[in-house]
Amino acid sequence: MEKKIKDKLKIGIYELTGCAGDALLILDCEKELVDIFKAADIQSFLMAKSDNIDGELDVAFVEGSVSTEREKKELLDIRKRAKTVVAIGICACFGGIQAAFLDKKDWEKNFKKVYGDNKMTHTKPLQSKPIDAYIKVDYYLPGCPIDKEQFLSTFNRILRGNPPELYRFPVCVECKWNENDCLLNKDILCLGPVTRAGCGSICINHNLPCVGCWGPVENANLTSEFQLLREKGFDSDFIKKKMANFSGTGIADFLGELKGEKR
């Protein structure tokens, strides 16, 4: 039976800078969407409705990286209003593709190349960073975009007051479940061993290598993957670049370590 509105958890779904793919994926839960709206009190979901309220929240789902002063303010406000904050998608978790320029000076140079010397009047640009650069994040739901099953299970568990249970292993595990041939054995650069699972090893199922779009799995053995690929003859800069394409700040420490070793 449908709960009374006052007994429902108050939920907000917010989009910062990114492709809006995670919010869109929630809309893509076609069959479950009406149930989602019935089970919780969706206070704010800009992509789906226009009567949005900025009040106290039980849970805020935040997508995208912080890339402007305005977004930083909005995020700080969300944190103040919400008991629990869940980062959804790789941009919120690690900064995503736009966090590729990890060095501030490098970012400034490239910003100038796109926008010239034009003064931006509406909101100050910031170097793209994941949301935990500014606020405490309670849970991380990775993905590019997030996976429907993982989102629904996370949503359900949080609704019932339980922490989400996410895959804490790399894509390789799912790939074995799917009985794919290992592409690394065929000397193809595949990031499966270091990338967080949850996508269902979708690329390898299509005979294509993992591009690492979900970012590094916790305790990823990046050093070992790096060595393995070096042994297979890949250029070290190429491997680094490949690992960094989606991972943003998630790979910063490892790249720093590599630099340190060189010195």
Binding site: E15, L16, T17, G18, C19, A20, G21, L24, L25, D28, E30, K31, L33, V34, L46, M47, A48, K49, S50, D51, N52, S65, V66, S67, T68, R70, E71, G96, I97, Q98, F101, N110, F111, K113, V114, Y115, N118, K119, M120, T121, H122, T123, P125, L126, S128, C144, P145, K148, C199, I202, C203, N205, H206, N207, L208, V211, C213, K241, N245, F246
Partner: protein
């Protein structure tokens, strides 16, 4: 001054806003801003392999992910001289049709229809339109299913790669898609009637230029190697810059575009306006039944055009599948080229999408991406301005916010293309002072006094200019001097230009209003010969940086006496300019 603004545009994909500033009876400023932060995608692709770039660029936008993938593939394959098999082309078209169905059905049923039937969301609308909401969801899901089957995932599938596909769908999967498409037909026909028969408001209505891909084989289509305009012009894809002319605006992280210094529109409405005659089957019949000249002038009809395109997509799917079933799968085409330049154009659901790359030594060395929303931004601002000014004149100020929202949403802006929405602001008293100071801060302006000194207050502009000259201010001209000195012909830099004139805004005499000159021209508020002269001689680009400082006259009877309030206004302006 009052500002009407929709600060967080709801029910659009991404984050942006539109604001209109109202000074008394005049709309003095309309801005479409995208709060989405800068992502520098064009820069972070540099130095990566073509394959990596094809992985990264679809992340610009989740809802156009397939179109981005498709445009990138076409561009890269052009650059690297790769030919793909017919089956690959057919499967790419199929995934593209899937995206069109998914995006259009989400937009018309979920983001737009609630406005027309008076609900805040599609979920709320379900109480009254249960069947429509349910079946529309199924239709959207079907679009998603096609994308997933062809590309590997709902969003950001990686199966389409340079040279082909990682894996082709099975015969069974294709046959299922074919039969499901046919099952949907009755609902699709109802959808077209529903959206073509909606009561679209007649404000704003105004001509514009429409641009879309020019499909091969003289058919309706969503890809091509040329761009066609509603003016009849055809532009080769490699010359796309002659259409787009991108420039940076300070109020948005999405660049804007103008063609021949004029705003233009892209999207479903552009495609139907340019290519509708070529629609066949049921889509052709429906086009003939519903198309009328208002479609060419009113952006709100984009929703009707989207419905028509859904029908087009559903009719094409079975044919594409039949062709695919007769062909055997091809391996991924290999290539050896390491250098090249290539442009790829496709129609994203919301319009022309252009990707252009240069590859040197196997790595991408230059990237240029032009999204539909960046191209539509100028026309969105223009149509919102027209709507706001008309409604204000009709005394419907309270309707401005919702109408601007409706216009922006009709364009289906894919705001992640770097874009929440409408705001109406009231200008503070004497708002022109702050504006004037802001203009002066950019660069020292040039001033031109306009008017007829034999018609009392109409001489205010000339009077003002003469007083300024007396004070020794540089670059002050009279209307009569312009032709002689050919000043505007040589006016090539981007210094601001401010015209002084008596303008009838139907305000209290002596009220000063400062607004962009093109608003005055669009509205032909005044009939001095200067305006046709300026719009002919000056390029629109300069007009962007040209303003009208208008003083409300008390009288324009014959005579040379300037009224008291107008004289006081002249003194105030003099003081401000001197400062």
């Amino acid at each position: 001054m009052k500002k009407i603004s929709v600060d967080h545009l709801a029910r659009v994909e991404g984050s942006g806003g539109i604001s209109a500033t109202i000074d008394g009876k005049v709309v003095t400023d309309v801005k479409f801003s995208i709060y989405e932060g800068p992502r520098l995608v064009e820069r972070l692709t540099v130095g990566k392999t073509p394959e990596e770039v094809v992985n990264i660029v679809p992340r610009i936008c989740a809802i156009c992910t397939i179109s981005h993938k498709y445009a990138a593939l076409r561009a890269m394959e052009n650059a690297l001289s790769i030919k793909v098999s017919t089956k690959v082309s057919l499967l790419r078209d199929l995934m593209h049709l899937g995206e069109m169905i998914e995006s259009h059905s989400l937009h018309i049923y979920y983001l737009t229809l609630p406005d027309y039937v008076g609900f805040p969301s599609a979920i709320a609308m379900a109480s009254k339109f249960e069947l429509e909401v349910k079946v529309a969801l199924e239709m959207k899901e079907f679009g998603n299913h096609i994308m997933k089957t062809a590309s590997g995932r709902y969003i950001h599938g990686e199966n389409p790669v340079i040279g082909g596909f990682g894996k082709f769908p099975t015969r069974e999967e294709l046959i299922w898609i074919r039969s499901r498409a046919i099952q949907f037909m009755p609902f699709i026909l109802k959808t077209v009637s529903l959206f073509c028969e909606l009561d679209y408001p007649d404000c704003p209505e105004e001509d514009t230029v429409y641009a879309c891909c020019h499909p091969d084989q003289n058919k309706y289509g969503l890809v091509g190697d040329e761009i066609m305009l509603s003016t009849g012009e055809i532009i080769n894809k490699d010359d796309y810059k002659s259409l787009t002319n991108e420039f940076v605006v300070s109020h948005s992280y999405a660049k804007h575009s103008r063609y021949r210094e004029k705003p233009y529109s892209v999207g479903a409405l552009a495609r139907v306006n340019n290519l509708g005659e070529k629609l066949k089957g049921q889509a052709g019949k429906m086009y003939k039944k519903y198309f009328n000249p208002r479609w060419r002038r009113n952006p709100l009809f984009n929703n009707a055009a989207q419905a028509l395109e859904i029908l087009y997509a559903f009719e094409r799917i079975p044919k594409s599948v039949d062709k695919m079933l007769r062909l055997s799968s091809s391996p991924i085409a290999e290539y050896t080229k390491k250098e090249g330049k290539g442009t790829g154009i496709v129609e994203a659901p919301r319009g022309l999408l252009i990707h252009s790359y240069e590859i040197s030594d196997g790595l991408v060395s230059y990237t240029d991406l032009i999204t539909p929303t960046a191209q539509n931004a100028e026309d969105i601002e223009r149509y919102c301005y027209i709507a706001a000014q008309k409604l204000l004149e009709a005394g419907d100020e309270d309707k401005i916010k919702d109408r601007m929202d409706l216009v922006v949403r009709a364009y289906d802006p894919c705001i992640s293309c770097s874009a929440h929405m409408a705001e109406v602001k009231k200008a503070p008293a004497e708002d022109w002072k702050a504006k004037l100071a802001a203009i002066k801060e950019k660069a020292p302006p040039m001033f031109v006094g306009v008017g007829n000194r034999n018609r009392s207050d109409d001489g205010a502009g000339v009077e003002l200019a003469l007083e300024l000259k007396k004070l020794g201010v540089c670059d002050v001209y009279l209307e009569s001097e312009l032709e002689k000195h050919r000043i505007l012909w040589e006016y090539k830099d981007l210094r601001p230009l401010i015209l002084f004139d008596a303008v009838d805004f139907k305000e209290a005499p002596g009220k000063v209003t400062l607004l962009p000159l093109n608003y005055v021209i669009d509205k032909t508020r005044l009939s001095h010969k200067i305006l046709p002269f300026i719009s002919m001689q000056m390029r629109y680009k300069h007009l962007k940086n040209a303003y009208m400082l208008g003083i409300q006259p008390e009288s324009i009877e014959e005579g040379t006496k300037i009224s008291r309030p107008v004289r006081q206004a002249i003194l105030k302006v003099l003081k401000e300019i001197k400062n």
